[in-house]
Symmetry: C2
Subunit: 159 residues, 2 copies
DNA sequence: CATAATTTAATTGGACGCAATATAATTTTG
DNA sequence: CAAAATTATATTGCGTCCAATTAAATTATG
């Protein structure tokens, strides 16, 4: 953009070596946004956002989850999930009902419309797979590396 | 959490192979949040958020950038940057002045306090490096893989 | 059994992130 | 030169995110 005379290919110079963690974080940050941009047009057709889609994915695998259960699966808390789930309810994809046995808990369940969406949204899988441009092997390796990184960070964050 | 009798270790079953792109996206999404949680306590000491820190990193490398320049470097638009930069200005880390030559542009520059923060915040590098738990080699490989993924996604997103 | 501690959701407030719109300045064109 | 198109930034609105607080229900404890 300006004068980057000190930016050679991909060599690891002293400063870069130290800053690798930061660069890794920024790379993750950027890819997360890029994925979001890739998903957006696909999800807009259904009026969904990516986190909303994640909730539906979780429910498609295992219906009737509590808010807490969904939060643990996705790493989100009630501050994020409560309004999100209300929007999903308003849109008619899920129902929210207090557990009879323990009235503190709210059971989130797929509606008929929510179940039906699973097959409708199946094409998204293919689209995203294509967009990554990764071979199955590359994608699996990258996913695995990211899981390891996630574990390390969670441990460091006292989880 | 409940009965996940169909969730075996890390094998690639048919469904999983198809869903690899999604799983990759979710892994990235999760790691991005984990990084954010790692940075938060480090940045709280300076009253900064991660995106604000990114802007300062960019300015420490190259002072006096336009809003557009920063946006291109970080992948953010004015809707995000305008209020963020005002907060950085209020906090006293940067100044914002309209370019005399082209009054459409706003030049963002580090204040004395902003420059001084660079050495103060140096410890963050080490902390983040430690938190990743990666060797230099692993980190470099992962970063490189993410760059490749970013390129693919950007191309797919018509960039 | 009554009070305290814990658990589960919801709410509130501050900060992204982006689309869409607005505004002002510059450049292009006729 | 004046109108149109382009460019740079700001604003608005919606939807995450998270921390902190609140409220209600359940469990533990004296």
């Amino acid at each position: 953009m300006t004068d980057d005379s000190d930016a050679r290919k991909d060599d690891l110079k002293d400063g870069e070596a130290l800053a690798l963690g930061q660069q890794l974080c920024f790379a993750v940050y950027s890819v997360a946004h890029a994925f979001n941009r890739t998903y957006k047009p696909l999800l807009d057709r259904f009026g969904l956002t990516y986190p909303q889609y994640l909730v539906l994915l979780a429910l498609w695998q295992h219906d009737n989850m509590t808010v807490k259960g969904i939060g643990e699966e996705l790493g989100l808390d009630s501050g994020t999930l409560s309004p999100l789930l209300k929007r999903l309810e308003t849109a008619g994809f899920v129902s929210r009902t207090r557990d009879k046995g323990d009235e503190r808990q709210v059971i989130v369940a797929l509606t008929e419309k929510g179940v039906a969406l699973k097959t409708e949204a199946f094409g998204i899988l293919m689209e995203i797979g294509k967009a990554t441009g990764c071979s199955m092997k590359e994608a699996a390796a990258l996913r695995s590396a990211l899981h390891g990184l996630n574990r390390h960070l969670d441990e460091h964050n006292g989880g």
